[in-house]
């Protein structure tokens, strides 16, 4: 086990190096000269040269790469190009609101999807099953944008159940006042694809021999479904949660933009709009690292869910 974890961590090094190279290649090489953008319309060559010097883009590429590597390992990306706020501070203060939305979303969405999926899988082939599946396909084809626009208008503007947008300093006020509508939206939109996916996981298990054996033993349907089928289907479900887990840090950037939630997602959009490269670079590199660590944790967790898994 320890050997496995160490080997996996060791294998991360080339990938992290690759991420650093890719980001460097994109922003420092393809990205061109940011000084032109930052200087704005009223600029003279002197000003641009000054900005270039400030940003360090007048240095040779190998030196810029070295600076970037240092930034990654010292967690010091300097200051934002547009607001002059420290990048590390931006990241730390924006993560909170994003997680306030995304953790409830993840919990509610997964439990609802598992619950509905096992019910639909139980009545597989019936009219209910087919009806729900068609509804899911149609629901999935409507753009997320349309849902947000309509929900915000209906529940915030027409019915007035929730504030249209906003955020406060207090965590509880956020969670109880501002977060419910975005959470509800994200759950609503995320439910259809997950329900379809989890239904197929349950269907894979339902036809297995051990299920027939359990029934032959005379176990109640409830026990067969909840104890035998559910526990086996949890393995692919866990993988799927593991894949989507890194995404909760970016959050649903669309929700954050629409509901003015000062989270990471909105920060990234703002940074892209303003060509604020340090912020985007920092977010991308660290999220890649987080993704790799989460993947490792999920793989280790398999061991506890499925004793057949052995680490090689």
């Amino acid at each position: 086990m320890t050997a496995y974890v160490i080997r996996r961590l060791w294998q991360m090094i080339p990938t992290i190096a690759g991420v650093i190279l890719l980001i460097f290649f994109l922003f420092n090489w393809v990205g061109g000269d940011p000084a032109q953008v930052l200087a704005g319309k009223i600029s003279n060559p002197e000003q641009i040269a000054n900005i270039r010097k400030q940003l360090g883009v007048d240095q040779p590429y190998w030196y810029q790469l070295w600076v970037f590597v240092q930034q990654v390992f010292t967690f010091d990306f300097g200051r934002s190009w547009s607001t002059n706020e420290e990048v590390s501070r931006i990241l730390l203060t924006r993560v909170g609101p994003t997680l306030t939305i995304m953790i409830p979303v993840l919990i509610i969405e997964t439990s609802l999807a598992v619950l509905f999926a096992i019910m639909v899988a139980y009545v597989r082939g019936s009219l209910t099953d087919r009806g729900i599946m068609i509804t899911c396909t149609v629901a999935m084809s409507v753009s997320f944008l349309v849902y947000i626009i309509v929900f915000q208008w209906l529940f915030g503007f027409i019915l007035g159940w929730f504030p249209v947008q906003g955020w406060s300093e207090s965590f509880w006020k956020n969670l109880t006042t501002y977060a419910p509508l975005p959470i509800m939206l994200a759950v609503f939109v995320g439910l259809a694809p997950q329900l379809r996916l989890y239904r197929s996981f349950f269907l894979d298990e339902i036809n297995q021999d051990y299920v027939r054996t359990a029934r032959a033993k005379g176990l109640s349907e409830k026990k067969v479904m909840l104890k035998h089928v559910l526990r086996n289907a949890l393995i692919p479900i866990l993988t799927n949660i593991g894949i989507s887990l890194p995404g909760i840090f970016v959050g649903s950037f669309l929700l954050e933009v629409f509901f003015s939630i000062p989270g990471l997602g909105r920060e990234i959009i703002t940074a892209v709009n303003r060509s604020d490269f340090p912020v985007i670079k920092a977010v991308t590199v660290y999220l890649a690292v987080i993704t790799m660590i989460i993947n490792l944790l999920v793989d280790v967790m398999y061991k506890y869910v499925d004793p057949r898994v052995s680490f090689k």
Partner: protein, 356 residues
């Protein structure tokens, strides 16, 4: 003795149907698949018609009053148009006479005469349009058609490019193995360790700043395909690993087929159904992504219309009760995406009956 030998009529040689004709036969029996195919074909025909200027040519003309009502709501009040009309009328009213202080006053008459010589055709703006108008009085229905042209074109070309990249790299990694495989797996790991949305936005930021991705809709096509090839690569690599040791490939090698010919002449036709299904799946994903990126302003340029830019306008319109633009863009996208997803499912079933 020598009876005329009559050749008994040989049974006509029946050609065994190939993969594609079998798949087509299966697809034709699938009612859902055929209906979706027709819907998709209509959308693509619409796209082509709009591209060649056969339909929706004058989508950019301001034909109606501001927020003209849809013809089925002809009677309802249109406050926005009235206030705009009032503004227009105010602008046309004779100006206050300032001739005693205005140094230009003596020349007014001359200018008026000259202005009268220029024929100004005042277009009559209609109160209603078939499916309503937008803020500038453009026909929403035509806008939606033009918008689908851009959205579908972006989705199709990005998916084609991503499939091409994914297939080439997958073929290289799967066929050659060794260091080519190691290198490409490393690239794959790097690309997939960055959350997909973030990768797209990073590319979008660079494209917007550098301008090296071209102009018009080229940047968005490049962004989507350069970030979206990974899934296809992985699948094609697995297929190539599986196939490159099969006997027919060995036989091709024995008769002297080159590596290139074995990769693309022999193996590719046998795995192309996988890439076709992937292509179709990615079109749907990319159309959805284009809509969101255009909404955020990282997609198609401002002088073009796509479903995403329509939805961006629709957000403010809904508050004043003008729902038709939202509906036109949302519904046409939903219909196409539903049809395309169902078609993908049918294609997969038709091409790989073992899966069922």
């Amino acid at each position: 003795m020598s009876a005329v030998l009559t050749n008994p009529a040989l049974p006509p040689v029946r050609e065994s149907p190939g993969l594609w004709s079998l798949a087509w036969r299966r697809l034709r029996q699938d009612a859902v698949g055929m209906v979706s195919l027709v819907v998709v074909a209509i959308f693509i025909a619409m796209m082509a018609g709009s591209y060649f200027g056969l339909i929706a040519k004058d989508w950019n003309k301001e034909k109606g009053v501001s927020y003209a009502n849809p013809s089925f709501l002809a009677g309802s009040e249109n406050l926005e148009a009235r206030s705009m009309g009032a503004k227009d009328a105010a602008a046309k009213a004779p100006p206050v006479d300032l001739s005693d202080v205005d140094p230009l006053a003596p020349r007014y008459k001359e200018w008026e005469e000259r202005a009268a010589k220029i024929a100004v055709t005042e277009t009559k703006r209609s109160e209603v349009l078939p499916f309503g108008g937008d803020k500038w009085g453009r026909d929403v229905l035509q806008k939606a058609i033009k918008g689908s042209e851009v959205s579908i074109f972006v989705g199709l070309s990005a998916a084609l490019l991503a499939t091409l990249i994914g297939t080439m790299l997958g073929a290289a990694a799967g066929y050659w193995g060794g260091w080519a495989n190691d290198l490409l797996e490393w690239v794959y790991n790097v690309f997939t360790s960055i959350p997909y949305i973030l990768l797209i936005l990073a590319f979008a930021a660079v494209a917007a700043t550098s301008g090296k991705f071209g102009k018009g809709i080229l940047p968005i096509v490049l962004i989507l395909s350069l970030t979206g090839w990974t899934g296809i690569y992985r699948l094609m690599r697995a297929e190539y690993i599986k196939h490159s040791n099969r006997e027919y490939v060995k036989a091709a090698q024995a008769i002297g087929a080159s590596n290139w010919s074995r990769m693309f002449g022999h193996i590719l036709p046998n795995v192309s159904h996988v890439s076709l299904v992937q292509l179709s799946q990615h079109v749907v994903g990319f159309i959805k992504a284009e809509v969101i990126l255009s909404f955020l302003g990282f997609g198609v340029p401002v002088d073009m219309v796509s479903w995403g830019t329509m939805l961006a306008e629709a957000q403010n319109e809904l508050v004043i009760g003008k729902w038709w633009q939202l509906f036109a863009a949302g519904a046409s996208m939903a219909i196409l995406v539903t049809a395309f997803s169902l078609l993908t499912d049918s294609l997969r079933d038709a091409l790989d009956p073992k899966l069922k």
